[in-house]
């Protein structure tokens, strides 16, 4: 039973001169089988939380702990975290020119699984996973994310999620910029991953619309660098009708008008 435990996490980013504190004491525990939606307005620090857990060098942890099944995640390098079972589906996946998607996927799978997948099964596995996400097989020979549309990038993030089978997945605004069909396809991919085993999901989103496809067990409102309110599915419905004004003093909708 995988458990990701975040305790009193404070994170700063080095801006032009002085470090700026973005996360101001985050407490959150995600257990296997649970889906937690983190909802909040722009600039509340949601993405920082995801990048800090994944180990992006831009962010400095000033205090607090993050553990996965009791292991200190913050002591691990970025790749060790991934091999330990953490996965971050990024809001803005990075282009890597000259590295084919197929080479990248196989290298990643080899690293995470600890051994190279048998070629015959692997080809079949990738083909199937791509078909499930309505990805044209030709993408396998294209450079990683290079020239992909926003929707294509997101599909490929979920493709990696399915192939790498992490213990805990953090999905950072995976729904942003997706049209209705793409949102459905991507959500189905996340649901397949959820159904595949005892896994935990942290679903970071600004809008409630993805929650129509992916059922959260818990909803947390994120504002000003911390979780300010937690509840069940019904909290999303409140946000849907009332927006974030209660938490920020500003009118910012959580539903698409």
């Amino acid at each position: 039973m995988a458990t990701l435990e975040i305790k009193d996490l404070h994170v700063s980013v080095v801006s032009e001169d002085a470090p700026k504190e973005i996360l101001k004491g985050v407490d959150l525990t995600i257990k296997a089988g649970e889906t937690h939606a983190i909802m909040g307005p722009n600039g509340s620090g949601k993405s920082t939380l995801s990048y800090a857990i994944a180990g992006h060098p831009k962010y400095t942890i000033t205090s607090g702990t993050v553990t996965l099944d009791g292991e200190d995640v913050l002591e691990m390098s970025v790749d060790e975290r991934a091999r330990a079972g953490l996965f971050l589906a990024m809001q803005y996946p990075v282009e890597v020119p000259g590295v084919s998607m197929s080479n990248f996927l196989r290298t990643a799978a080899t690293a995470v699984r600890g051994e190279a997948p048998a070629l015959r099964h692997w080809v079949k596995e990738v083909k199937g996973a791509m078909a499930d996400l309505d990805i044209d097989p030709a993408f396998a020979e294209r450079s990683v994310n290079e020239g992909f549309s926003g929707g294509e990038k997101k599909r490929h993030e979920i493709l990696q999620l399915g192939l790498l089978q992490p213990k805990v997945a953090i999905l950072d605004e995976t729904d942003s910029g997706l049209d209705v069909d793409a949102l459905r396809v991507v959500s189905e991919g996340v649901n397949r991953y959820k159904a595949s085993g005892e896994v935990g999901v942290m679903l970071i989103t600004h809008y409630t619309r993805i929650l129509k496809y992916i059922q959260p067990d818990f909803v947390h409102v994120f504002a000003n660098g911390r979780i300010v309110e937690s509840g069940g599915r019904e909290l999303a419905d409140v946000l849907e009708s009332e927006g974030y004004v209660k938490y920020t003093g500003k009118t910012e909708a959580a539903a698409l008008s």
Partner: protein, 385 residues
């Protein structure tokens, strides 16, 4: 030869290079002054490390030239007096003129007309540590010939040469030059490409080894419809100086050129220089040209200079452009790959290999491609990148 020979300029041997059109050329070494290092065309080159190639050093040895010729390809070893030599271009700097004035024997490789031939390999091995040698090679693709020539430079010593590529009307020549010298070697080379009507050349320069390697490929067009693709791939380690100075001289209408050079640098004192000159003369209407240089700096202490120059004397062209970028390792790419479990060392290699992939994929000879991939691996291994 007569068609391209020029008289020294009336205002003396040292010509301030304002326009590439004014660039001084001569077969005679004495027509050039000994460079002091401040001249525009020498200012990046470490003259002290040239073993006197620029200042009149006499030959003390001979580089061995070995040709593994494909069926149908003719190989000749000729003396200085062979009047076919020099037909593709005139030396454009003192070292090239010194080489032209000093070589004793030249090798002429001729690809038969109207025929497709398998790859031919010319291996040039330096005369040895502490020696100075001069050489001359001419590759001739006869009318409608189609073939590949690999020039493989290895060994030790200081070596200067001119390499001519005479591509006759309608011929298609692919050339891959590999500078795989030993650590002490110094090589200053001018390549002269002359393209006939509707002739094409794919000219790839690979520079890996040597202390100083300076290559100046010059392309001239003798008729309409010529197409030159110049690719370069280099990897400079600590202390290495690698300089590439492609010059495309568009003097005929409706010709095309495309230049792509990419290099990686690592280690203290690694220095890459790329000077890309393109000149579109008044007569060259309908020209289409693009040149690009990219440098990937892998560690501190390495330096890349990149200077694209585009001179256009006619407005009636299809298109002309250039781009140059020198950057450090992209940490975001590294983060992305590592976030998928790929260890840092392996992630770095993926990125560097990816950087070169576009050019390696264009090399049509599998053995050469594999050799390059292995060489890049070895370079990365050497510094633990």
């Amino acid at each position: 030869m007569a068609a391209l020979s020029t008289q020294p300029h009336s205002h003396g041997a040292v010509v301030p290079v304002a326009s590439r059109a004014e660039h001084f050329t001569s077969y005679d070494v004495d027509a050039f002054e000994v460079p002091g290092g401040r001249e525009e065309i020498w200012r990046f080159t470490p003259l002290k490390r040239l073993a006197g190639l620029h200042s009149g050093a006499a030959a003390t040895g001979t580089a061995a030239v070995e040709v593994n010729a494909a069926a149908g390809v003719t190989v000749e070893t000729v003396g200085r007096d062979d009047d076919r030599l020099g037909g593709a271009g005139v030396p454009g700097d003192r070292v090239a003129a010194q080489a032209y004035s000093s070589f004793e024997q030249a090798t002429i490789v001729t690809l038969p007309g109207d025929a497709k031939t398998e790859p031919t390999t010319v291996t040039v091995t330096g005369a040895g540590t502490g020696t100075v040698a001069y050489g001359h090679i001419q590759i001739k693709a006869s009318q409608f010939a189609e073939g590949t020539v690999i020039l493989d430079f290895r060994g030790s010593g200081a070596y200067a040469d001119n390499v001519e590529f005479l591509v006759a009307d309608g011929a298609h020549l692919t050339v891959i030059t590999i500078h795989d010298w030993a650590d002490d070697a110094v090589h200053v080379s001018q390549h002269h490409v002359k393209l006939g009507r509707d002739a094409t050349i794919k000219h790839t320069v690979v520079t890996l080894g040597g202390d100083v390697v300076r290559v100046t490929p010059v392309v001239q067009y003798a008729g309409r419809g010529g197409d030159a693709e110049l690719f370069g791939l280099y990897f400079a380690d600590a202390g290495q100086h690698q300089e590439h100075r492609p010059f495309i001289d568009h003097g005929q209408p409706n010709c095309r050129s495309n230049v792509v050079y990419k290099g990686a640098l690592q280690g203290e004192g690694a220095h890459a220089v790329w000077i890309g000159d393109v000149l579109i003369r008044v007569a060259a209407e309908g020209t289409e040209t693009f040149e690009l240089n990219r440098n990937l700096i892998l560690t501190d202490g390495a330096r890349a200079d990149s200077v694209p120059n585009l001179e256009i004397e006619t407005g009636e062209i299809e298109g002309a452009g250039h781009a140059s970028a020198t950057g450090r390792f992209d940490d975001e790419q590294l983060f992305y790959l590592q976030a998928r479990g790929i260890p840092e060392t392996q992630a770095r290699r993926l990125v560097v290999r990816g950087f070169f992939q576009e050019l390696i994929a264009k090399i049509a000879v599998p053995e050469v491609r594999e050799r390059l991939e292995a060489a890049i691996e070895a370079e990365l291994e050497a510094v633990g990148v």
